[in-house]
């Protein structure tokens, strides 16, 4: 069995509870929002670290974004990853899922052979879950999405996972190499390893790639490589609500509420 090599895709997202909406310009205001690693991506990293403990091998981290995102990759290195790569170039900007998955797949190719690509099932800011299947298609490998449990069986040749379906689950096996996307909160991401901390923060190298370093086809990147366009943006219609506060003791509040909702009560 070849030494397993996992690649974990990490997305840095603004903390969604700190993003506000500028009601005049009708745009998202991220200026006050701090960033964090997308939550299910942390669970993906933890799943990769657990596999590394059991089967050995190494873990590479891959992200896309401005150079200062290297600090987030360093956190992953301090948790136990071995190498980190950051794709940083303005031409990556404005990418939809087609262009994003193309760029990430090319980054993965540049890192080299892999056994498993780990991703979070969706991002807190996009929440569409379309990038992991896209990466798998660009790389022509199988995909296992919405996994809640991941293990490697059959002498390291097969990924076995539990997939959460809308109303149940399934146990699925896919030959390696493959892409797996894991659901949020399937595990408890570990704390930083303080013995690795200084190395990760100061000595470890985060490889930064521009598009030209990877000889990427620029027509497939960013806005140019995105077949979808945003035709309009609006602040969501906020349905006018009464916002009527009911006062009194708990019992009085309950009784007042019954008066208000009586039309919707029905026997049967």
């Amino acid at each position: 069995m070849r030494e397993p090599h996992s690649i974990v895709c990490l997305k840095v997202v603004p903390k969604s509870e700190e993003v506000t909406i500028n009601s005049e310009t009708r745009t998202l205001d991220r200026s006050k929002a701090r960033s964090e690693i997308n939550s299910p991506d942390m669970n993906a990293l933890e799943a990769a670290l657990t596999l590394k403990q059991r089967h050995g091998g190494r873990i590479s981290l891959l992200s896309m974004g401005p150079p200062l995102f290297d600090q987030y990759l360093r956190l992953g290195l301090a948790m136990g990853a071995d190498a980190a790569y950051l794709m940083s170039d303005r031409v990556f900007g404005g990418a939809d899922t087609l262009a994003t998955s193309y760029a990430l797949a090319e980054g993965i190719r540049a890192i080299g052979e892999f056994s498993i690509i780990f991703c979070g099932d969706e991002s807190s800011d996009g929440a569409t879950g379309q990038v992991p299947p896209g990466i798998a298609e660009w790389l022509s490998v199988p995909q296992v999405t919405y996994a809640s449990r991941v293990q490697v069986v059959n002498s390291g040749q097969v990924l076995r996972a539990r997939r959460e379906l809308g109303s149940g689950f399934e146990i699925i096996e896919a030959p390696l190499p493959c892409v797996v996307s894991v659901k949020q909160d399937i595990n408890e991401p570990r704390f930083l390893d303080f013995q690795r901390y200084d190395w990760a923060m100061n000595e470890a190298e985060v490889t930064v790639w521009a598009a030209s370093d990877l000889h990427l086809d620029e027509s497939r990147l960013g806005l140019a490589g995105s077949p979808t366009i945003v035709a309009g943006v609006n602040v969501a219609r906020s349905s006018e609500r009464r916002r009527e506060f009911l006062e009194g003791s708990p019992q009085e509040k309950a009784d007042r509420l019954i008066e208000k909702i009586r039309p919707w009560l029905r026997v049967g």
Binding site: V19, P132, P133, I171, P175, A231, V233, K253, L257
Partner: protein
């Protein structure tokens, strides 16, 4: 610019990918047939239903009765249980040969799994998790409405140059059409070849809790973090109200209640007449799942909780104080009505 694999002037027809288990359609598949029918009537195109199954005994007549003009029925043993690659193979090959204008899928676990794969294989645009679909009057393009950051921002996404225009739609967004047994159309059985290489992923077993469908609930009691796991209390309230039970993501992630009852961006969009929200703070990712409710009641001990911004009737008090009183009052109310 990304080049289309076939020119848009040759693209014709609206296709809907249908999901089914145990001889029944997924709710969202019916909803897509209903909306697809309306879109097809707008553009003057045919509505085609894609039906993949293990043995060909699937639901073609039903698809016609729910609004399709035509059913493409593909069957192969490798299609009996959904895995990505066989389904992607069949759908992509059909699309490349028949050149549809639009392809719609449900934003279910497997619908998203397939859509993301297909969009890259077909090198086309995918508008994911739409909350509405329209045909743009001027351009004739499919316009998908999506929400960003919960319900805060609404964006309209189009795919002007590449075909097919793909979209996934969340369950519960569109109304289910009425079945019309008199509707007729044609069913075409498709010869399917699936290469060995596409068949290496195996589903070892499946377990289905018979999923609860809260998207059709008329009355809904929803619990959040503030319920602290006491869903027994909420069940009593739901029983007193003759309501279904829903939950926020936090409550589901805590394991307090099943995933099929999750309301919000990653759960279901609901449209009950009455939603009673208990102990939920009101994050946008949640409120997108209740905003279509006729009346919203919120109970939360924090008077500053954002949930009160989107509620009709607000009770700023301890849920554990109010709910027992409310249950008692409801029981009295119902007993009074019966008597």
């Amino acid at each position: 610019m990304v080049e289309s694999i076939y020119p848009s002037k040759d693209a014709h027809g609206i296709w809907v990918y249908l999901e089914h288990t145990g001889g029944r359609f997924e709710g969202v598949s019916l909803e897509l047939l209903g909306r697809g029918r309306a879109l097809a009537d707008t553009t003057g195109e045919n509505l085609t239903a894609l039906l993949l199954s293990g043995d060909g005994s699937a639901l073609a007549e039903e698809a016609l009765g729910y609004g399709a003009d035509e059913v493409l029925l593909a069957h192969h043993p490798a299609l009996s249980v959904y895995t990505t690659l066989p389904s992607a193979r069949v759908v992509a090959d059909l699309i490349i040969h028949r050149r549809p204008n639009i392809l719609l899928l449900g934003a279910t676990v497997n619908g998203r799994d397939l859509a993301g794969r297909l969009a890259v294989r077909l090198l086309t645009g995918l508008t994911a998790d739409c909350t509405d679909l329209l045909i743009d009057k001027e351009s004739g393009l499919l316009s998908g409405e999506v929400t960003g950051f919960g319900q805060g921002i609404l964006a309209t996404i189009q795919c002007p140059d590449t075909r097919p225009q793909m979209a996934t739609v969340r369950p519960g967004v569109f109304a289910r059409p009425v079945f019309d047994p008199a509707r007729c159309g044609r069913t075409e059985v498709i010869a399917v070849e699936i290469p060995e290489d596409d068949q290496h992923v195996q589903v070892l077993r499946q377990s289905s809790r018979r999923g609860v469908d809260i998207t059709q609930a008329e009355r809904l009691v929803i619990g959040g973090r503030g319920i602290q796991g006491d869903f027994a209390l909420l069940r009593r309230l739901a029983r007193a109200l003759n309501a279904d039970l829903g939950a926020t993501r936090v409550a589901v992630d805590q394991g307090w209640i099943g995933h099929d009852r999750m309301v919000g961006q990653t759960g279901s969009v609901t449209r009950p007449k009455l939603a009673l929200v208990c102990g939920a703070s009101g994050a946008m990712q949640f409120t997108v799942g209740i905003q279509e409710s006729e009346t919203i009641v919120a109970i939360n001990s924090d008077p500053e909780a954002p949930i009160f911004e989107v509620a009709d009737y607000c009770i700023a008090d301890d849920v554990f104080q109010v709910l027992p009183q409310l249950i008692e009052a409801l029981d009295r109310e119902m007993a009074g009505r019966k008597g």
